[in-house]
Symmetry: D2
Subunit: 354 residues, 4 copies
Amino acid sequence: MKRRVAILGATGIVGQRFISLLHNHPWFEIELLVSSDKSSGKIYGETVKWVIEHHLPSSIAELTLHPLNPELIIKEDIDVVFTALPAEVAMQIEAELAKHGIVVVSNSSNMRMEPDIPLIVPEINAEHIDIINYQQKKRAWEGFIVKIPNCTTIILSLSLKPLIDEFGVERVVASSMQAVSGAGLTGVPSVVILDNLIPYIEGEEEKVESESLKILGELSPGGIQLNRDLKVTASCHRVPVLDGHTIAVFAELKEKPTIHDIIRALEEFRSNKIKNLGLPTAPAKPIVVRRELDRPQPRLDRLEGKGMSVVVGRLREDKALGGVKYVVLGHNTVRGAAGTGVLIAELLVAKNII
Amino acid sequence: MKRRVAILGATGIVGQRFISLLHNHPWFEIELLVSSDKSSGKIYGETVKWVIEHHLPSSIAELTLHPLNPELIIKEDIDVVFTALPAEVAMQIEAELAKHGIVVVSNSSNMRMEPDIPLIVPEINAEHIDIINYQQKKRAWEGFIVKIPNCTTIILSLSLKPLIDEFGVERVVASSMQAVSGAGLTGVPSVVILDNLIPYIEGEEEKVESESLKILGELSPGGIQLNRDLKVTASCHRVPVLDGHTIAVFAELKEKPTIHDIIRALEEFRSNKIKNLGLPTAPAKPIVVRRELDRPQPRLDRLEGKGMSVVVGRLREDKALGGVKYVVLGHNTVRGAAGTGVLIAELLVAKNII
Amino acid sequence: MKRRVAILGATGIVGQRFISLLHNHPWFEIELLVSSDKSSGKIYGETVKWVIEHHLPSSIAELTLHPLNPELIIKEDIDVVFTALPAEVAMQIEAELAKHGIVVVSNSSNMRMEPDIPLIVPEINAEHIDIINYQQKKRAWEGFIVKIPNCTTIILSLSLKPLIDEFGVERVVASSMQAVSGAGLTGVPSVVILDNLIPYIEGEEEKVESESLKILGELSPGGIQLNRDLKVTASCHRVPVLDGHTIAVFAELKEKPTIHDIIRALEEFRSNKIKNLGLPTAPAKPIVVRRELDRPQPRLDRLEGKGMSVVVGRLREDKALGGVKYVVLGHNTVRGAAGTGVLIAELLVAKNII
Amino acid sequence: MKRRVAILGATGIVGQRFISLLHNHPWFEIELLVSSDKSSGKIYGETVKWVIEHHLPSSIAELTLHPLNPELIIKEDIDVVFTALPAEVAMQIEAELAKHGIVVVSNSSNMRMEPDIPLIVPEINAEHIDIINYQQKKRAWEGFIVKIPNCTTIILSLSLKPLIDEFGVERVVASSMQAVSGAGLTGVPSVVILDNLIPYIEGEEEKVESESLKILGELSPGGIQLNRDLKVTASCHRVPVLDGHTIAVFAELKEKPTIHDIIRALEEFRSNKIKNLGLPTAPAKPIVVRRELDRPQPRLDRLEGKGMSVVVGRLREDKALGGVKYVVLGHNTVRGAAGTGVLIAELLVAKNII
């Protein structure tokens, strides 16, 4: 029996990725497409500005868009709601849904730092999902909310996880070069970005610096504890690339491994947290290491592992910081958003939570 | 009396910038255009692939290209040679010219780190020019060589200079997003860079990490001493931007100034080293600070101060490193190459060295 | 005494060009900036997303934006209103202004094909301005409206004018490659246009096919008569270029001139209609011919004649159609919009109409 | 038994497409990779600058590049040679190979217009292959040469074929917007094409105007007769798009069909010439018609039919020419080069010629 799924914010780029990943999914069935704007009541295929590389499935194209109405979602007996709504819209509806027994897997940035709301990258912190019981009790909810972290943070944190586990990381400096799709369908006008870059993305650096500490933190009875051993500083920039966020990372390490040791740690990382669960969307290798001097490149590497692997390259010693520097790339709307959301939902199924 | 000038490597992008800056210059007259390739003997205007925003002056277009022949340059009574040759070509000819009394201002990367070869950004280290006497004596040259530093290094070092002077800088992490013009006319094919970025530029990081220590080092009788208080680590990336290198900088400071103090230090920086010399190409403000959240941007800011100012923005505290982070932008082929070369030559004239 | 000027739609790209062209204009003074959106009451410099290559003048940056209120414009004793409003907004206000004695020079597409509304490219049809008397009488207006044609149409028509005059033109096939700035600040999202082109621009082909016949038509007492000898067919496409519309033109000619004759006709075209009027914004050469095989190119040629010249290249015989084919380029927001608007206003001043 | 295949010019973009299409092909086996430059003797995977969207197969990556030596190819018992060499290199080797019994399917532009050399788009003129007998006899060759037409010409001709068959076409005006991959790995530098377009491609217009008449011509005993009823005029332009040539087509028709009739003719076109042959690379629909106003777009539509379909859109009446205008798009290195080459070789197999 497939779980019945609704997608909120279905016309946006992350909404399109949710559709692409959930269509013909072995465990989920798309039942409802919901849009927050004036397009409700219209036919999806006639309304959406479809921009992703796969064709829009024709059975989805024929669906009618529904308004953002919690009662409808509850009445339709939906098991999981995936949300890709602006934070200010999500804020008003997610709690309402959770209260009435709906499981919400949300890409919206509201509530991400609240201690009882798990912020999950399954390969890193699948066990944080256990905070759900506390969340439900504390808030008197029948359902619950799980948050997908910020895109850049997911990609960075995945690359840091084996380094933290094996060598210890003290400080991280991250400078990102982010794709325009991260700002949504109309976020970056072409008159702004052609022959240019924008050295600012609102709220992004704060998210990278705080959310990474939570993802890499510890589960405790009263909520997730931030990782207090780690310091992260970020500078985030928009570049004229369609898909794929690239991050230059400089990491101060506690131990002094060789580059060879570091490559091994990254390449062999498989995540003992989900490896025997058979999650359909989990990539064979969460981290792919490339040895060419000029990789990873967004256009060539963003679809690695169907967009679910992050690709690391240019591993070299950092003498100034005492550690390592490297470049990591990930697909911002797959690994960095919808793909991690689907992986979270698969984790919930595998754990018999939904 | 204007000094007689030759430009070596005149058909390349930096060669084009030299022409644009030296045409109608009050102190210099272009006498010879030299190209290293098979184009010698041809008319410049019919040979060059002119790509910069100013029109090619018609009097220059009519000049004949000369071969790379030191004897010709010596015979033509040239006062200053500006070179924009590949390092492996420059290596064979620059010493020969200097030996025979020619003053060489060179953008080529060979010899930059030799202690008796000054590596000059006039606003930072004009006094390093005094090492010329030692250079001439040691090498038994009648002329001498001055080097223009690497483009990214010039832009970074200018922004660091007031911070070092006023607050002390311990460590610098620099992540660059560099324009395609930095790789020359054919360096970055369009099939490589459209919808993409390349996280590697050969030799660039080593140049940034070493040359900055020399520029910010000290003159001593036996050669320039590297700055031993400073550590620099760099990661360099090519992005689809025509002109203008942007650098995300994270600096660990010795003192703990406010952001307001830092802005003041940058904005008030005028360089006491050249300020009374009346150099025609010196910008009124070597550093321009912008307060908007989303500046500097290469397309909007690269021509600030006719391409000779660097533009700093996004100044904010860096808690992880204990210092400041910011973004600095400069025009890579003007401030980062030909413009700094012309400014060096002007300094030599003002100091009565040529 | 300078004429007092208001700019309606001042925050858009054409509005920005109007400001850039009218600031420090010898005959006009910017008195009022008007915006149609919620930004009225705000400071212009803090509100506008300034994207053009010249700096925003600081005296303009400090102006307050006014709401779209005809009474205010009338009360402020404005001589000329330049409008760059969406057609549906312009429709409601332009007639009201004209009725109350205001001279409206409008870039909006409404009313362009009405026979009593002159549609002017001064070098082509300055005499059409005489229809104003008929317009005022017929509509009982104290002021009047003059329209700036569609951008692509202006550029195409300028290149056709000498061919029509000297050789006769029967049919024209025009295929355009248009810059993203033609769609305004947010018209073309980057997720749509990077590594792509859009083979459709709403309403554009109809405008090219109809407006060209009016511009190249004849003044008659009851209104402008369309040119009935000419047939124009167009296909219009958006490409990832910031500024500058390029048009491939195939023209069937009545006579059979040599290519040399055609080049002469284009190069010598000076427009006897405005040549002795000393209009400040008129370029020395309305048409510049380039002989290189690979010109005109938008990035290299769009600022020819300060953006007011069109550049023609690749003139060659067309055996299939019996005529000539060529490529013409013009700056879409200068020659194709605001620049032609300012030139029209200068014509009105020179003719003592305002 | 699979046919043994060599690819000449294997490191270029068309060479890469040949590899991608022939790897795991049911009828062919890649035996030899040949490169014309100094890279012979090197390992393919370490030498090639791989730029296409599929991963380089690892078994191919390990192959050694061979020099351009006809004797080697003959000795290796190769059945079919696919060439993607520059015309001046191909000229010297193709005849030599054909003379010694090799079948040459060539993408090089030399010899394309010779009457005894078939220039094939299988869906259009598969029967022209019969000229091979005459070619062999006339030239005393044991093997033979078949040419793949120019990329733009293939795409244009496919779209014209059903119109010619059903309604008659008198004149065609074609204005192309061509991808940078058409110029090869280094043909279009990024400093040239960013924020720009180039209105010239050497030799392209002549190829479109002449080759289309041969493809759409008739087989006769003494060679292929050009289509004398048709006149084609072209203007060709390079735009900043990675893959996919887009052509605006204006066609003067003999009959006056409705747009509905034209859409039907295009959509129903299946080519009776190859439809029962089961060619593996033949797309289900050679022509796909899209009804959206803004399609075809290169990024969204170039992989239609795995890159082998052309996509037509914007069909509308052309009143000026008396006919129809539309936009057609095809993948320039698949349908426009390597893909048509593989389809030709499949045709030769199906016809028992090889």
